[in-house]
């Protein structure tokens, strides 16, 4: 259960980002599918090069937020719909992530290893080599890697849960505080009435830039933490992230109904944890009715579509 909560809260950070883009600023942004990987890739690359985890995580989130900024810039400068702009950025980020990692995936080493030599280099030539004329593996030699210092121990003893929960609480509190300020209130207002922002003498495009930058910062943060938690970064780990986060947000909205605590910031947090619980239940018992773990993305997409469709039939508000 602790591991489920840990993963749920890690997802909650990304879901908060998606909540900001889809619900608060009302911009359908698919960049998280790419910015999640960028966050993971940057943290893996920085940790491997010997940087501390705090600065690595911060820089990773910053790199992901730059992706959101670029999406908003393309959308506002060139008048391209956010959906299309984010698809282009998301596609581009796939290549960027591979460039950062220099490979499609990158492990985050937990233990230091010495220089790796081939068997022959260690024990010397064997009688067989005289007959065969030496083996190819004789050339094998690899530099050793230094262990990355990460805050997680993966023992499911509450230590990791505490750290992740602290991240969620601190980020959630800061966001809540920000949304209370005049700037934050105007950001919330922008999501429903761009014209009124313009009438107040403020360029509405600024809020698109700010909203998507903050949203992708959170997604990148989630990607970076998950990468450290799981011990690797992979270029495919962000696929379907927007849909999963959206499902979390919708689950939260269903649970809380019309009660909007903390400007709705609790929706993605509670929703993500519930989503993770449902996911683990489906993985544990789903095989009885023929489900495979790989079916979860399909189920999640179907869930999002069915909730939106149900709301449309009820003629209630939905902005997806």
């Amino acid at each position: 259960m602790i591991a489920i909560l840990e993963q749920g809260l890690l997802l909650a950070l990304a879901a908060m980002g998606v909540y900001i883009s889809f619900r608060i600023v009302d911009l359908p942004d698919l960049t998280p599918d790419g910015s999640y990987i960028v966050g993971a890739a940057v943290v893996a690359a920085l940790l491997r090069s010997g940087h501390g985890w705090v600065s690595s995580v911060f820089l990773a989130a910053l790199a992901a937020s730059a992706a959101g900024f670029i999406t908003a810039l393309i959308s506002t400068r060139f008048k391209i719909h956010t959906l299309l702009a984010s698809i282009m950025v998301m596609t581009g980020l796939y290549s960027v992530a591979i460039r950062i990692m220099n490979s499609p995936n990158l492990p985050i080493p937990r233990f230091s290893t010495e220089k790796v030599l081939s068997y022959e280099q260690i024990v010397g030539k064997t009688p067989l080599d005289d007959i065969l004329g030496g083996s190819v593996s004789f050339q094998y030699e690899k530099e050793g890697v230094r262990a990355a210092i990460v805050p997680f121990n993966n023992r499911a003893d509450g230590h990791d849960l505490f750290i992740i929960a602290m991240f969620v609480v601190v980020i959630g509190f800061l966001l809540w505080l920000f949304l209370r300020t005049e700037l934050g209130t105007m950001l919330r207002g922008y999501g429903r009435n761009r014209f009124a922002v313009k009438v107040l003498g403020v360029n509405p495009n600024f809020f698109a830039l700010m909203g998507l930058t903050v949203a992708n910062f959170l997604v990148g943060l989630s990607g970076a933490l998950f990468s450290m938690y799981s011990g690797f970064a992979d270029v495919n780990m962000g696929a379907g992230m927007v849909v999963v986060c959206l499902a979390s947000v919708i689950l939260g909205e269903i649970i809380f109904g019309s009660r909007e605590f903390a400007y709705g910031l609790l929706f993605p947090v509670v929703g993500a944890v519930v989503y993770q619980i449902l996911l683990s239940l489906a993985m544990k018992y789903g095989y009885r009715i023929g489900f495979k773990p790989s079916d979860m993305k399909l189920l999640t997409a179907m869930f999002v579509v069915s909730v939106i469709a149900a709301r449309r039939f009820k003629k209630s508000e939905v902005t997806v």
Binding site: E182, R188, V199, L200
Partner: protein
């Protein structure tokens, strides 16, 4: 305050869909004036408003606000607009209090915690629509008349020099219209805000404002100065009607 010189607006110029929306319009609105523009649909009233707010550039002629040719964002720094749709002037997802807090001043905001202006609260109270008692209520939950009253109070909270009203009572019931028009008049008289109002309601044109401008087919066909001409309300109505029929 507002100066339009020989303003002509041609939409889709040089194409088959070419349409002349304004023809050689000269308009001068002094500071503190309450000018009402009336005309039938297609008379060019809305295009005139778009030219004033900088949304449409004149094909010919010039439009100056406070002696300067201003861009859209600059105009909104010194002026406000209330449109026909009550939802356009407010932030529906925010509470009345938050709406008023944002409307307190023009321009960019920082990471500060704002408060509601007492003058805005007084104006809200003067509407007698019960808004001041429900400051925590979300604006989306208000009626059309309440929303428009809130939009009006928000529009003048930042103390703008110019208030533009684009058929702001068109979607309201008669009772709400009366309340909103009383508020409009009060804003002009007590705050001294220059008001340029567009309407196609003759009764409003005859009751409110210092000057009535009649538009037809993209032209200003009459300018009736109520104070100088000392016309009676009924006379004014017939004057407007006669001007409109004379041109058609």
């Amino acid at each position: 305050m507002i100066e339009l010189q020989k303003v002509t607006v041609i939409y889709n110029k040089g194409t088959l869909d070419e349409k002349i929306a304004l023809r050689d319009v000269d308009l001068f609105v002094e500071e503190g004036q309450f000018v009402v523009i009336v005309g039938a649909n297609g008379a060019g009233k809305s295009t005139l408003m778009k030219v004033i707010v900088g949304e449409v550039k004149p094909t010919f002629g010039v439009c100056r606000i406070m002696g300067q040719v201003l861009k859209e964002e600059k105009i909104f720094k010194c002026g406000s607009i209330v449109c026909q749709d009550p939802n356009l002037g407010i932030f529906p997802n925010l509470s009345i209090e938050e709406n008023l807090m944002l409307a307190r001043k023009k321009g960019f905001r920082g990471l500060t915690f704002g408060r509601v202006d007492t003058r805005a609260l007084e104006l809200l109270r003067s509407c007698e629509l019960g808004l001041e008692e429900n400051l925590k209520k979300k604006a989306s939950k208000l009626s059309g008349g309440q929303k428009q009253a809130l939009a009006m109070v928000m529009a003048v909270s930042s103390n703008p020099k110019l208030l533009l009203l684009d058929e702001h009572t068109a979607s309201l019931d008669p009772k709400s219209t009366e309340k909103i028009m009383e508020l409009t008049d009060r804003i002009n008289k007590t705050l001294g805000t220059t008001i340029l109002m567009i309407t196609h309601d003759m009764n409003i044109a005859e009751q409110y404002g210092d000057t009535v401008i009649v538009m037809e087919d993209g032209r200003i066909v009459a300018r009736i100065d109520k104070s100088k001409q000392k016309v009676q309300a009924s006379q004014l109505k017939s004057m407007i009607k006669s001007r409109l029929t004379a041109t058609t």
